[in-house]
């Protein structure tokens, strides 16, 4: 009977415990690598199949795409600009909203609750059109970028209010007690102790909202903003090539969401590594 591996020392009689650990790690690595390769291969097959399907429709004119794709892709910077601006302002609305929803002052609490209820209770597209079509009836005509960004951030702010409220309430009571015991006022505590920790907690959720925002930015095309979707739709419908251009636009949105998702994953991993836990 062969002695167990662990019993054989490192003196040429066989592998010792360190060798076993290395062997196990190596086999795990190759299993992960195999998994990723099969994943990639499956995607290539599936996406390749979809591409072939699209190609086989006969409705894809490569010359047409050659001519117009640069113009359509030229909408990407505006799409990203709108999304980034809107998420920043949405965050500001959200912090105010969360503080309002946590307020013990009745009118402030009531106003914040109304904001959340009303804005979450009406469709985003209705709100966008409201800014675009209804406000001008009162003489309020906003530039397209401002109108679209405002509608998006006001809407997302309401959803993110609840995210921030949960984040703030997730801070352990002990933090507030320690701050109080040190003589800090409630405002000081919120500004220096609670919010900095809460923001750290909600960053993954904000990342998700940003990725959703990139897709919802397509709606601002309806206020006349020339972003990705506006170009795809306008060029496509005027040349009877809507299938091509809209498919292209969809692929671009997909690529953007994948890109930002990977970026967010990396950010979350880095935050978890240097996690400041108590």
């Amino acid at each position: 009977m062969v002695a167990p591996l662990a019993a054989r020392g490192p003196l040429g009689l066989g592998p010792g415990p360190e060798a076993i650990v290395r062997a196990v790690a190596a086999s795990r690595r190759s299993a992960r690598l195999r998994f990723r390769l099969v994943f990639l291969a499956t995607w290539i097959v599936l996406v390749g199949g979809i591409v072939l399907l699209i190609g086989s429709t006969g409705r894809v004119d490569l010359d047409f795409l050659n001519t117009w794709t640069p113009l359509i892709l030229g909408g990407i910077p505006i799409t990203i600009a709108v999304s980034v601006t809107a998420i920043v302002f949405a965050t500001m609305f959200a912090i105010l909203g969360a503080l309002g929803r946590l307020s013990r002052v009745a009118p402030i609490y009531a106003a914040a609750t109304l904001y959340v209820s009303l804005v979450r209770g009406t469709p985003l597209i209705v709100q966008v059109f409201f800014v675009f079509s209804a406000l001008p009836e009162f003489g309020i005509v906003l530039p397209a970028f401002i109108a679209g960004t405002f509608a998006l951030s006001f809407n997302y702010g309401a959803y993110m209010t609840e995210i921030f409220r949960a984040g703030i309430q997730a801070i352990p009571r002990g933090q507030i007690e320690a701050a109080a015991s040190l003589g800090m006022t409630e405002r000081h505590t919120m500004r220096r102790i609670i919010l900095p920790q809460a923001i750290r907690i909600v960053i993954p959720a904000i990342g998700n909202e940003f990725i959703a925002m990139i897709k919802d930015s397509a709606l601002v095309s309806f206020v006349g903003l020339h972003e990705l979707f506006w170009f795809a739709r306008t060029v496509g419908t005027s040349h009877f090539q809507a299938f091509s251009t809209l498919t292209l636009a969809a692929l671009v949105y997909w690529a953007l969401t994948i890109f930002f998702s990977l970026f967010q994953e990396r950010l979350e991993k880095r935050m978890a590594a240097s996690d400041v836990r108590l």
């Binding site: 320690a178 040190l182 003589g183 400041v276 108590l278």
Partner: protein, 260 residues
């Protein structure tokens, strides 16, 4: 540890009662703590000892009674607890009665040094360089100078608690309140914290300590109070209560504690 003669108490609790709903947790507590004294409060969980401590710095609102710290008096006023004047008086008391918590409660997003200077700078208005000097002095006192720029998440439990003690000391309070400071610690880490507390006691800090660590009480207490069901059952100087308890309830409690 010797109180100067004729000194007035740093902390005076008068006829304190606390109700949680219908639960009568504190049923009439009166206590005087003089400068340089170390007082230990012992008792079962639920006896009210932590509640008493937390009433002194108004982390709990007393239902009845009066709290006096360093000459500042605040009477129980549960109906007007949110009134701005009441809140400001409480804040002034808290500056003078710093608490060390069972769960440490360090601010995880701030470095150790920043944990210590945040309140002195922004609450007391101490100039930054002076606050840092004071903080570093107390950090050295608890033996953690080298952890100055670390984040709390990287410290062991005993180190966190010592930082918490340094944070309380940096506020230069008149009295230190310890709420079961070692109960959340791994047994091997308890010693380093108790050592710091014993040193503080021997150097003459005024301390009120809620604890289960009888060895600490024996070593450092000027007086030990046994609390049961919301009242003081008995009190005695130094280790007398531990060695010669007079009330049967005290005897039962000590017997159970020693057995554990």
């Amino acid at each position: 540890m010797l109180t100067p003669p004729g000194a007035s108490p740093v902390v005076r609790v008068l006829d304190l009662e606390k109700f949680y709903g219908s639960n009568h947790v504190l049923r009439g507590i009166s206590l005087e703590v003089y400068p340089r004294e170390t007082i230990c409060l012992i008792g079962r969980s639920g006896s009210g000892k932590s509640t008493l401590l937390r009433c002194i710095n108004f982390l709990e609102e007393p239902t009845v009674g009066t709290i006096e710290v360093d000459g500042l008096t605040v009477a129980a006023d549960p109906l007007h607890a949110r009134n701005a004047r009441h809140r400001e008086q409480i804040r002034q008391i808290r500056l003078r009665a710093q608490m060390v918590f069972q769960e440490f409660n360090l601010f995880p997003h701030l470095k150790v040094i920043d944990n210590l200077i945040e309140a002195p700078i922004r609450v007391k208005g101490v100039p930054r360089s002076q606050a840092i000097a004071t903080a570093e002095k107390y950090l050295a006192k608890v033996g953690l100078s080298e952890k100055r720029d670390e984040y709390p998440g990287r410290l062991s439990g005993g180190q966190k608690q010592r930082v918490a003690i340094a944070r309380a000391l940096t506020m230069e309070p008149k009295v230190l309140l310890f709420d079961e400071p070692t109960s959340a610690l791994d047994p091997t880490l308890v010693g380093e914290v108790l050592k710091v507390m014993e040193e503080l006691a021997h150097e003459g800090s005024t301390m009120i300590v809620v604890t289960h660590e009888m060895a600490f009480a024996r070593e450092a207490a000027d007086r030990v109070y046994f609390i049961d069901e919301g009242v003081f059952v008995e009190a005695a100087p130094h280790a007398e209560l531990l060695d010669h308890p007079r009330d049967q309830r005290t005897r039962d409690f000590l017997a159970r504690t020693m057995r554990a």
